[in-house]
Symmetry: C2
Subunit: 452 residues, 2 copies
């Protein structure tokens, strides 16, 4: 018998600082030679030689009808562009993706813009876009034979990691958290999924530092934002938006920006598609930050003259409260290459934008609302034109943030005027009182509002 | 010009008590002649004449690849069987449905049963199965030209109604609630969606009674459980399960039962498919109730000798805490015709079942867990055999019930021993302490558990 030749891999790791290359099968998160982050690079020339743009489109479209198996996933439908070296039978999938792309006449009217859509990533199984990165990260960990995956996160990241690790026999998820700073809602998903949930009497940054230290000595696979494989899964947001639109690129894609991993991923996905001839034009990227934590918006205003770090202030958009984003360089590169921009929105603008979208029956989180507010600002400033077509990425479901919703409508958010408040109306327990209320509404007058 | 003839309708309303017929285009919820509930009946002979079973399967399968439009919905893919008289352009859809059907090796192992799957209806846009009924109810209301839709509900029903009504220009949703008995989480969805949310100083039953009284005098469309059109949308749970399985019926479908509308809907859907030749065999239905509110389980034990009403006690499965189900008769008829059964589960069994499923990364609510516990009980008692194939319907997402999860794992649920508790581990903020913990786990010993 002749031995089966090892297939030449499609992908490797590359330092975004010095360009040094490492095998993707190596568990590593940083360069040896410089402090640079790593990214996954695929052999796009080889993929291009295998199929032309039309053939890729036909392949991806043909998988839409799948009733089961990995190609049913909105991530693994694009397996060849996500992790081509990963065997299909190693994939850990719910499946995820296949989220709705909502047309929004309300936002079109409000902003006087031709076409505005919302890609609702809160409709993923654990209710945030993180599922797309975690199906990639946990699948790759399984392929590498890793028994423990870990992250330090207070929110959607640990929820997603926990839910995917729980699907793999013999794999344990480990979540490390700062003691006493986590709400029950944030704890409930990793606890429910059976993760080893560890609390340390320290702050969040120390949790991450200690975990990385442990990662250097023991065979655990870190799934924090330093992990470059997660980005490959998140690229599929871009692929799916384009496929939803019949491969016709919108003029802009708007993304909320905290650690800047997601906008980097979406940018990477778009340039992949352009390189492979799947699309003929790359949409411009608009990164939206909360004004309380907007280093990239400031860098944009200053012409990217130097790297901006800020001390993050409080914001309702707690998931993007980051003053020194991990993926700063990747995000700046992607946005500039696309001819895009970064903007910031105030707390007032964020919560008004949330109320506006929520009232159309599409329930979003404050982080997602930052993207909506950023779009409205860019449109008002003329960066986005009235004939442009827009896709805004919503990152998590509104049900993860009930309290922010209730606080806004009840007028209990400090510094925010509830301009679009919808208050509970208190009336007597009589049919006639209900009737009067309904008639008020019909006559075109405002419904009586009061109480709470 | 000759006038276009009015097409003969496919569907009408029929009293389940006396059989009297009414047009579906009439806004009515009860019979004139008797106190019976109404159901929607379709002309199945006509549908059968139009296509044979194989042709229906081909039609529904051909729509799986839709990228947009109403047929992309997991409800409207079966438009002809849901509301054939509703023009496609009147449909109000997110789209909804297309939820995951999870294979569960853990439940198969635990129960020693061949194949167990979970249909996770919590993956709908508003995070519960109610979206399927509401897309039907709100679409029909729009078709009838109704400007106001209303319900009295504390939970998933009002959330879903609000989100669909918000999609329709000129339609207002009205939610009527008992003052002071609703949590902020329950309020957040209708408030966010812009519903007129009214609170009355009374109890829940009075809210419903007053709303029905108003409904007799004014043109509002009631979307409470008395509405028969919602059932037609909910039937699609059965259609989608069967399509997911390549039209091979499982032996059992297990459904949590409160007001009993959903099990009635699923039963109706299954018998439709059998009549039309789409499937050759109807799965048996197992209805699962919480022991604190189990009139149907008692009726089953007593051979359905008389109608059972009980006073509902407290249960973690709050959405099915109903002692006198609205759809009692429909549910009994469907379950008996299928050769099925009703069972009940204790609080302990419900929360242990929830922990078991949650730990596989599929996050469910306590109501859904009642179905899992009911399955385990029916399997243990031998009602369900080891070679049977099972589909359990999970009705809402675990994220709507974080507190119950945290209370169980923290040992704070009265009368429930947290047998499968996953507690937060507190250790020192040192890399070595984390390392020790991870090594403990690898050695096969239990991870150290303590604190909270």
């Amino acid at each position: 018998m002749t031995p089966t030749p090892t297939p030449r891999p499609y992908s490797g790791l590359r330092c975004i600082g010095c360009g040094r290359a490492f095998p993707l099968a190596e568990i590593r998160y940083e360069c040896d030679a410089c402090p640079g982050l790593l990214e996954v690079v695929h052999d796009l020339d080889r993929l291009k030689a295998e199929r032309d743009g039309a053939a890729w489109r036909i392949l991806f479209d043909s998988r839409l009808a799948e009733r089961g198996g990995p190609h049913k996933s909105g991530v693994w439908r694009y397996h060849e562009l996500v992790l081509p070296d990963l065997p299909l039978d190693r994939i850990v999938s719910k499946p995820e993706g296949n989220t709705n792309l909502y047309r929004s006449p309300r936002l079109e009217g409000e902003s006087r813009t031709r076409e505005v859509r919302l890609k609702h990533e809160g409709e993923n199984p654990t209710l945030s876009f993180k599922d797309r990165g975690m199906t990639a990260g946990v699948s790759w960990a399984r392929h590498l034979g890793v028994a423990q995956v870990a992250c330090a996160s207070t929110g959607d990241t640990s929820a997603a990691m926990a839910a995917y690790a729980a699907q793999v026999d013999g794999m344990r998820g480990v979540v490390v958290l700062p003691r006493g700073r986590i709400s029950v809602e944030q704890l409930s998903q990793p606890i429910a999924s059976g993760c080893l949930t560890v609390s340390l009497p320290t702050d969040f940054d120390t949790c991450i530092r200690l975990l990385r230290e442990v990662g250097r000595k023991r065979p655990i696979y870190l799934l924090n934002s330093v992990n470059p494989v997660r980005i490959e899964g998140q690229k599929s947001i871009a692929y799916e938006i384009l496929q939803d639109l019949g491969w016709n690129p919108p003029d802009w894609i708007v993304v909320p920006v905290g650690n800047a991993g997601n906008i980097s991923a979406i940018g990477k996905g778009l340039f992949d598609l352009k390189t492979l001839g799947v699309i003929d034009r790359v949409p411009r990227l608009l990164g939206a930050q909360a004004e309380a934590a907007a280093p990239l918006a400031r860098a944009h205003r200053e012409g990217y003259a130097s790297r901006v770090r800020v001390r993050a202030g409080d914001t309702v958009a707690s998931a993007i409260r980051i003053g020194d984003p991990v993926s700063y360089d990747k995000a700046v590169a992607a946005v500039r290459r696309s001819g895009g921009a970064f903007v910031s929105a105030t707390e007032q603008e964020i919560m008004d934008a949330k109320a506006l979208v929520d009232a159309t029956g599409v329930y979003i989180c404050p982080n997602s609302a930052t993207a909506v507010a950023g779009f409205l600002k860019a449109r008002a400033e003329g960066t986005i034109g009235e004939d442009d077509t827009i896709v805004i990425v919503a990152t998590a479901h509104g049900c993860k943030f009930s309290q922010a919703t209730i606080d806004y409508h009840g007028g209990r958010l400090a510094g925010v005027v509830p301009r679009l408040a919808n208050r509970v109306v208190e009336i007597d327990a009589e049919a006639a009182a209900i009737e009067r209320l309904l008639t008020d509404g019909e006559a075109g007058g405002p419904a009586r509002r009061g109480g709470a």
